[in-house]
Assembly symmetry: C2
Homo-oligomer: 197 residues x 2
């Protein structure tokens, strides 16, 4: 193998998720030959993320101050909270422009096989927010897979007795998709959820 | 999209070769949640590569001083030079333990489609080394693909008139491979190069 600084960099890159030894080597040589300014920008971006970015004290979205941009926005409704698994789901929903309430980022989904139970997610913090009495609707926007569904079911059981409306994102055919290529479960859900036009 | 420091990091990671927007996002969130010490090690490895690593003044392998470890080693033979495309090829050949001479790293292969001609490779520097008269054999270990073969042919034409023995690595079946799965060109080369046992 290589020696010294180049091997150290290959080792460090190889520790990142989804980067195997070959990719780490290719990246290290790319960086070695890249402009000093490009590498300096990457270094500074890494340092600034660790310095500046934290999780919002209210909703656990990424934030660069005590609260995130969405929690600080006075124009958004305090009556509904949309529960998602990860900060990237907030970004995806924000892109639709369909939701003007607040978020709550769980930090994952219930997954007994990987040892993730309700206590490992920010469910206690969600309950504390719901206890304020201001919230009228809780939208469960966890992923439409086994873990996401389990988490949604768990939260629904917990929250419904509090007299808060609990809704789940609709399942159905992806827009632009082809009916014949839809899997049977999605197609079944689309039938189940069919609406008058 | 995200904002501020986290988006800056996603952008910088997305500029690296082979890292698309989704991977960049996954890496950025991994780094955000990683230990400060891990990120500090990555940052330091990046900075040290740019500070310390350069190309050997003689053979253009990676080096942390004027000359690389191999060029500095007095126990290696000065009579043969093995020509490779990239520093990682030096590592691959060193692992075999079969070669005790010196290397010359071209920095690529002739590739007219990508605008890489002989002038873009360290061929002039190779010629200067050969002019010393000390070298008896030039081993062409460029890749066994179109560009590598073209580069080897070009170098052979250039060097043979100098009275230096020019050899090329053998083509043939990969050891441990299965004859029935070998492509016809490799199998053809293996036949052509067959040896008495």
């Amino acid at each position: 193998m290589f020696e010294g600084a180049i091997q150290d960099l290959i080792d460090e890159l190889g520790r990142l998720p989804g980067i195997g030894p070959k990719s780490a080597q290719r990246l290290a040589f790319h960086l070695l030959q890249a402009d000093d300014a490009d590498v300096a920008r990457l270094v500074s971006a890494l340092q600034r993320v660790k310095e500046l970015v934290r999780f919002c004290a209210t909703c656990f979205n990424v934030a660069e101050s005590e609260e995130c941009r969405i929690c600080r926005d006075p124009r958004r409704s305090d009556e509904s909270i949309c529960v998602v698994e990860e900060p990237k789901d907030v970004v995806a929903i924000e892109r639709t422009g369909e939701f003007r309430g607040r978020y709550h980022v769980l930090g994952g989904a219930i997954n007994p096989l990987e040892g993730v139970g309700p206590d490992n997610l920010r469910i206690r913090e969600l309950m504390a927010r719901l206890a304020s009495g201001e919230i009228k609707e809780l939208i469960l926007a966890t992923d439409p897979n086994t873990e996401g569904e389990a988490t949604a079911t768990y939260l629904a059981l917990l929250v419904k007795p509090m007299g808060i409306a609990v809704t789940r994102l609709a399942s159905g055919l992806p827009v632009g998709g082809d009916l014949e290529y839809a899997d049977e479960i999605t197609l079944g859900r689309a039938f189940e959820g069919r609406r008058a036009v």
